[in-house]
Symmetry: C2
Subunit: 456 residues, 2 copies
């Protein structure tokens, strides 16, 4: 039934039709084609979670059958599975008015786990939020669920957000946005009489390393791909590569020129709202200690690794069409710089087949710094799938152990409940001997879909 509810929610969003797209376009300035794609991503996420819930194995059912003859003491029958954590507060993000907003990944995964959701709409797209909320309310009604399963509140003041996080009924928080706002929610949740988990996906500059052989093989193609990734969505993606690193060489200089030429030719689109545009303009205007390679179009700057290391502000995220090229004098210096970075959502490595085969040192350091490693590609365009991990060490996210994209996002909003010596009739179906749902379970530590054999 929960699966059907999620699918109905997707249907209801589709049924909003062009009014949704036009409203979102008006409120965010994002192009219609991008919004149509994002709507597909949003409904796709709801359907993915419906499939996960219907398949059922996500509850991580574990069964250790009784061992009545064990010495010195018999072992009792012990079974556990994941249950809903309780009401979840979700904060809509400005940069994805559909996919990371009212019915976005946080809401979909929290509902899929069986929790009620209270959404705080992002003030940058209130009309879009109202439309999507009406679709969700309609799905709640059609599913015959209590109206409290989905509630949305508006409010531009931080006090509204903090009051929501502090409310004793709220048991977990999902958030995508700035480090400052995410940290404020984290601090409020941690200071509660009963602290709750906050899953805040915050800042990242997403280092991208280009090795020398890759430059020789396909310098301009990488420059083209990089500029495309940096300016996608007007640079307003949390996975935008904001830091590009290479080794000092004539090829690297030529790559920098190629990037700058392409960036200069870009006509930046309209940003999400006036505040973001003003922040971007100010950040670029006030940035010290770099050499600018472009003064129009997308903004590209350059600095040496030594100067980068001396100026911690250069490692701060600048949301918008900007990236910083960093020239390292040696692989050792490159490794040292990467190892000193704050936590990142992604790290990307471009190299020839031979270079990658010899890049275990880089893979090791990047694996400690980032949540997702991309090879010969670009970090923007986060696949919504089972194996995706969208998260990373702080401040990329507030808890590196959880993803906010993909089906594993459901694990943020569930907790185990264990049943010891429970009469079969009281067990949830997921834990019954006969495995009526046919899910994959861990029986005595081994994954299987087999039923538990009848007790002797």
């Amino acid at each position: 039934m929960r699966a059907r509810f999620l699918e109905t929610a997707a249907d209801e969003i589709v049924a909003l039709g062009d009014a949704l797209i036009q409203t979102a376009h008006r409120e965010t300035g994002l192009p219609v084609a991008r919004l149509e794609g994002e709507r597909g991503r949003t409904t796709g996420q709801l359907r993915l979670f419906a499939a996960v819930v219907r398949e059922g194995s996500w509850v991580d059912a574990r069964i250790d059958p009784a061992l009545p003859d064990r010495k010195p003491l018999p072992r009792p029958d012990v079974r556990r599975m994941l249950r809903p954590i309780g009401p979840v507060a979700v904060f809509g993000a400005s940069n994805f008015p559909l996919a990371f907003s009212v019915a976005g990944g946080d809401t979909a995964s929290a509902l899929a786990a069986g929790n009620p959701v209270v959404v705080k709409a992002h003030p940058a797209h209130p009309g879009t939020s109202d439309l999507v909320a009406s679709a969700l309310r309609s799905a709640v009604q059609k599913a015959g669920l209590p109206v409290g399963v989905f509630v949305m509140v508006h409010g531009a003041s931080p006090e509204v957000s903090l009051a929501l996080v502090r409310h004793e009924a709220i048991q977990a928080v999902g958030f995508t946005g700035s480090i400052r706002a995410g940290r404020a929610l984290w601090d409020a949740a941690a200071a509660r009489p009963r602290p709750i988990p906050v899953f805040a996906e915050m800042g990242s500059i997403n280092p991208l390393i280009v090795l020398p052989g890759a430059l020789r093989e396909r310098r301009d193609a990488i420059a083209e791909g990089l500029v495309g990734s940096c300016t996608l969505g007007v640079g307003q993606f949390c996975t935008k590569p904001g830091l590009v690193l290479g080794l000092s060489s004539p090829e690297w200089d030529a790559f920098a020129r190629s990037v700058a030429d392409r960036a200069r030719a870009i006509t930046p689109g309209v940003m999400l709202h006036a505040g973001i545009q003003a922040s971007f303009d100010r950040a670029v205007r006030e940035l010290q200690g770099v050499a600018w390679l472009t003064d129009t179009g997308a903004r590209v700057a350059r600095v040496s690794a030594a100067d980068f290391a001396r100026q911690p502000h250069l490692a701060h995220e600048i949301f918008g069409p900007y990236t910083l090229l960093v020239t390292a004098s040696s692989r050792g210096e490159l490794l040292q710089l990467l190892g000193a970075l704050d936590g990142q959502l992604t790290a990307t490595l471009h190299g020839t087949a031979d270079e990658l085969a010899a890049a275990q040192d880089l893979v090791d350091v990047l694996g400690r710094v980032a949540g997702r490693l991309v090879f010969n590609g670009y970090p923007t365009g986060v696949e919504v799938s089972h194996a995706m991990h969208h998260g990373g060490p702080y401040p990329a996210s507030s808890d590196a152990r959880f993803t906010s994209v993909g089906s594993a996002a459901i694990f943020r909003f569930a907790r185990p409940v264990c049943y010891q010596s429970c009469p079969p009739a009281l067990l949830p179906p997921e834990l019954r001997d006969e495995n009526p749902l046919g899910i994959s379970r861990l029986v005595d530590g081994r994954a299987t879909r087999d039923p538990i054999p009848p007790r002797a």
Copy 2:
């Protein structure tokens, strides 16, 4: 190799021989037989985690193979698995000088996940801690691991503990102890520039409900089991049933007399240290608003549900041989009282087969309050297995989503790393097409041990 290391650690603890048991006996006052049992539990935990690591599926490997022909965009190859979170700080508990201390469940699970561990020894058993630490260091050496893989520090001052939690190299914390100490560590970790997760297993009064039919069927047997559970380890278990609830009736009064008679006949053992004994004596002496049923032996008091609800201090844990009987006037009052409880590690329900079959209301409310539900048994004696969950809503533990006992405890100390379009040779074995380790993996969302078919 990690599995072999954990097994060697178990062997080295066994090799300490009677010196370990005698030292622990001298320092804690716990009986030799109990300590021998606890040593078996400790080495059993290490061997369980060795088996989990050797089997290998715990890394939750997920593979979404590339879909080069997908429209509108090809899907890249995406794979993820759990990797070590980083150095873990573990705080030894006073009440299990072996199984929840230097080489206890926190240390075993953190090492099993691949992390270095820094143990802060509990000041109540420094000699025991030194012996176990020497065994672990010996295992580190025999495994050829860096000496930093296991380090132990002493220190009775809270400043030592806080300095450890605040150290920027520490990435997670395991703790078992009081709410006050656990909350102090939580607050320190949450206030770090880069916050880290704290897994603190803290206080619980473990409600135990006896339904009327069960009283008629086996009143004295339940009284016997309850008093045994309350006085096991001199009542110094975090799962001690400190709250016993029933419905007002002559049978309930007879049960109370039966419990009191048995409790009075107990000769309490020596407590872990003078501080715990003094705290217990003071807590019992100063407890207001209850009627005492015993004034010697194990301490049993009684109160009405209405009076219990009016006096929040009665819901605080009293560590030691004490329990409180609460008489409810109706099932509604019972349900209301249970629903208002703080988070609990366990909740126990005694009933006849018919009573349990009709107890869905109780199971629902207990499942929201507690991490483990026990039927017709006792909560002490926590099985170390795959399906065990030892944790619960705050303050039972600081994060209800994780267990500190059983093989699932390993998930506290690992985080996913995702590889997108990674050359096969750079992939960890767990994620390679051919599945060389034969582990269970989620391929396109479906659990399987099959290899990935060769790409066309």
